[in-house]
């Protein structure tokens, strides 16, 4: 018996979205998540690895970053990264390496960060 494709018989994949329930509402001013040496991150000269007390900027107040192309909410942060409030402005956070790592590893983890491009404020 010939199988006729239909909605009832066709195969499909379930795409499991990351659990974002534990992610604080943080926003990035642009889609670009490329860290800048000397601006976002510093390298420990003794190890050649990134320090864990610096990272790219995120904001809990989307109004702070709208002028840089929109405010995109962070939907997912992979393991290996951490967010901490830093600076005088309490709405300013940094997305830092959770442990010393190479610049390239940091870039790879940042590439896994999910921004909600449809919810630009």
């Amino acid at each position: 018996m010939e199988r006729t494709p239909s909605l009832l018989t066709c195969d499909y994949f379930i795409v499991k979205l990351p659990d974002t329930s534990n992610v604080q509402a943080l926003f990035r001013g642009e889609i670009d998540l490329i860290p800048r040496l000397g601006v976002d991150v510093l390298i420990d000269p003794n190890t050649g690895l990134l320090r864990t007390d610096r990272g790219i900027s995120l904001f809990s107040d989307p109004a702070k970053v709208e002028r840089f192309g929109g405010a995109y909410r962070v939907e997912f942060i992979p393991e290996g990264l951490k967010t901490e409030q830093r600076g005088r402005d309490t709405s300013h956070y940094e997305l830092m390496p959770a442990a010393p790592m190479t610049y390239e590893q940091y870039v790879e983890l940042l590439a896994q960060v999910v921004l909600d491009l449809d919810k630009g404020e």
């Binding site: 001013g29 800048r36 040496l37 000269p45 007390d53 600076g87 940094e94």
Partner: protein
């Protein structure tokens, strides 16, 4: 944009208007100062809040202090404040006590990549050269 006044502050390559905004939010900035003869000095700006946060971080890790070569503390880390501080400190002779090195634009220390520093930013509208 006049970048011929010395000493001048050199900012990390790619430093733009967003960088200027974010470094004020972050409260720190790594930069260099270049003299008229081409000597360069590594400096690091921090505001008091970030300095305290960084110190707290270090102490939590068991490090007894927070230090950066050429540390300069500003009330707020802005381009203007950084340039004014450098002009003031230059006149005061502060940089005579720091080690200078040549003007290679891609400095490498023991195989560790460090950023390239430039005299201008990538978007117009922000004056980088310090006023006298």
């Amino acid at each position: 944009m006049n970048t011929d006044n010395y000493p001048r502050v050199l900012f990390p390559e790619g430093f733009d208007e967003r960088s200027a905004f974010e470094c004020s939010m972050k409260g720190w900035l790594s930069a260099q100062v270049e003299s008229e003869s081409g000597e360069r000095y590594s400096i690091y700006f921090s505001d008091p809040v970030r300095l305290q946060q960084d110190l707290d971080d270090q102490v939590r890790r068991g490090v007894p202090c927070f230090a950066e070569p050429g540390l300069i503390v500003l009330p707020e880390v802005t381009i203007e404040a950084a340039q004014n501080a450098v002009q003031f400190l230059w006149r005061e002779g502060f940089f005579k006590h720091l080690r200078a090195y040549g003007g290679d634009k891609s400095e490498t220390t023991d195989g560790v990549f460090v950023p390239t520093f430039i005299a201008s930013i990538e978007q117009p509208g922000v004056e980088l050269t310090a006023s006298d």
